[in-house]
Amino acid sequence: MNIDPFSFEVWSIVKWFFVFAFFLYIIFSLVVIRQVSLMNKTLDVHFEKPVTLFAYLHFFFAVGVFIFAFLVL
């Protein structure tokens, strides 16, 4: 089996690029959670549960994709 070492190196770099991008996205999703919390404090219309739940789902999705990318790539 003939593996091109240069090709292997490139995809390894691309993998870390992906993983870093997803890590940044996790930080973004944390900011969104904080933002939703501040928004709910500013305006209370008894709809904070669905909005907060969605923000947390978004965060967990981001964490899931990060782990998936880390393991699969």
Partner: protein
């Protein structure tokens, strides 16, 4: 002793009929006789994602005083969300186009799959941010003041308010096919407060909002006059 005949008080036919009419019929009468003062109207069942809420009971905001009563909670008309909803649909369908336009085929299959997952994550963030922007950027009218809550981006918010008696001029603008069809428009409020101009953009029923603001201003003037007399 002679009986004294006491006649029934004279009541006009129109007035007598009006006593018996229901609230719905009374709404119809307003078309002929002008609007019912907002204090006589009943609050509707509160829907947290409504763009026009009249006398909402379950609403609170950061700078609200204890004895302050919210008269109106306004958001942009839902129809204004169509643009980003349409864009979000296009974004979620975009990966299907990759079958016809193989622009990421140079990537190994596992990288392709993760790239598509990342794309859907960005789409999700786009939808959520647009919804939050619509949901939390509100205009509030209370019996004391008008409040404009703006979340410009993730980390910046602006809350401005002006007392009702500082309102100098209210301008209603409704123009274009969509605004005329769906009855929404812009209200520009000139005030004598620190922020000279308030903009309630793309809100539903702008004429009703202007009428309510007028009633509140009249009430404030009345209170001011009574205060001076006493």
């Amino acid at each position: 002793m002679a009986d004294i005949y006491v006649s029934k008080p004279f009541v006009r036919k129109e007035e007598k009929q009006e006593e018996n009419v229901s609230l719905d019929e009374k709404e119809d009468l307003t078309k002929k006789k002008g609007p019912i003062p907002f204090r006589e109207r009943k609050s509707l069942d509160f829907n947290p994602i409504a763009s026009f809420a009249f006398l909402p009971k379950e609403v609170d905001f950061e700078t609200k005083n204890r004895d302050e009563k919210i008269v109106l909670l306004l958001r942009r008309h839902p129809i204004t969300n169509l643009r980003w909803i349409f864009l979000a649909i296009l974004m979620s369908l975009a990966p299907l186009l990759l079958a016809k336009f193989p622009i990421i085929d140079f990537l190994p299959s596992n990288f392709r799959f993760v790239a598509i997952l990342g794309w859907y994550m960005i789409t999700l963030a786009f939808v959520f941010e647009n919804f939050l922007s619509w949901f939390f950027n509100v205009n509030i009218v209370t019996d004391e003041r008008i409040v404009d809550i703006d979340f410009v981006n993730l980390i910046y918010k602006e809350i401005s308010d002006a007392d009702i008696d500082k309102i100098q001029d209210v301008t209603v603008k409704v123009g274009g096919v969509a605004q005329t069809m769906f009855n929404y428009g812009d209200i520009y409020i000139q005030t004598a407060s620190e922020k000279p101009r308030f903009e309630f953009l793309s809100i539903p029923k702008p004429e009703d909002v202007a009428k309510i603001l007028q009633e509140l201003r009249n009430e404030e003037k009345q209170e001011e006059l009574e205060g001076r007399v006493n």
